[in-house]
Symmetry: C2
Subunit: 197 residues, 2 copies
């Protein structure tokens, strides 16, 4: 009986420890030297929010844009923030978005006209963290074969451009939930789509 009570206590302990870990956002942002974001190595196991093809930040890609090679964009978010959003329609402190941009190709059997994803072109991130100067910060980890393990937050004009676009054109907080259809349903149900969107 003592053993069973001990086992029950230990189970409770494990449960509390797991909860505490979640509270500390074990899957949240990790920084090096205070401000450099460490690129998550396991983001391919995080919940996938949506993919686009040719979904660049440019409002107008200009004439001949349709003849340029198009990239896929895959968006992932850390698991605990995903669960929080599905319950509330909001992003909690410690939310980490990873944007993985991949090249595309076509002409592989059995299909001849569709496009599929190939090599990594670039990796970027957006983080919601109340300890950050602007609440949210934007990071670029580099391109192609030069993807870095950490990235400093964008600053100055480049950060201002991120903030402007992520404020003006986003459906929920500073995130493009309009491109993540199953999240948009949740935001609509919870009433968290921005007024005026």
């Amino acid at each position: 009986m003592k053993k069973m009570l001990g086992a029950a206590a230990a189970l409770a302990y494990v449960s509390v420890a797991v909860t505490a870990l979640q509270g500390q956002q074990a899957d949240g942002p990790k920084y090096q030297g205070g401000t450099e974001l460490v690129r998550p190595t396991d983001y391919r196991e995080w919940p996938f929010l949506g993919a686009g093809l040719g979904l660049t930040y440019d409002a107008d890609r200009g004439p001949g844009a349709q003849n340029q090679p198009q990239n896929f964009s895959n968006v992932f978010v850390n698991p605990s923030s995903y669960k929080h959003f599905m319950q509330t329609g909001t992003w909690k402190d410690g939310t980490v978005f990873v944007l993985e941009i991949r090249a595309s190709a076509t002409g592989t059997a059995p299909n001849t006209t569709g496009r599929f994803q190939t090599g990594v072109v670039a990796i970027e991130a957006e983080v919601k963290d109340s300890k950050l100067p602007n609440g949210w910060a934007y990071y670029e980890f580099g391109r192609g074969n030069a993807i870095r393990e950490t990235a400093a937050p964008l600053t100055g004009q480049r950060e201002a451009g991120c903030i402007e676009c992520h404020t003006k054109h986003t459906a929920v907080e500073r995130t493009f939930v309009q491109f993540y259809p199953h999240l948009l349903e949740v935001a609509k149900a919870k009433g968290t789509v921005k007024a005026g969107y």
Copy 2:
């Protein structure tokens, strides 16, 4: 001390229980009435393998195909099978693939020419299970607003079509790993790409 030993025993018990659960493939296929596959409700939290646009099964979509509305295809696999593949380059018994087909749209700020994902068009699945007559089976859960909770395995000509295409055109076993670039790297490293592919 007794308490601590009890706690240690309980921790060991929890660890063994978790391992046993993994052994039983807690995230593997669930059947109703013996053969009807139950549609996984949490597949959006499973590892995402890749997306395509216009990546249909058709070898030739015919003239004018480029003017037809194109769908996105998102592919997910159960977590324990994903981990197994990343370690071995092979699919273990109990692997469940979910193919989620979504419509696409364009013309939403800030981008005007790219395509993003919208509503669910269809959900399909492929399962590797040594208890199945052909080792692998194929399921269609329906389309649009009529997605069913279970699906019987495809049979006859329809199953034969699946098997033929998934045998003739796939890079690893009966799966289109050529469209999941980070898995293709693993398969190449492990030497599990099919001879002749």
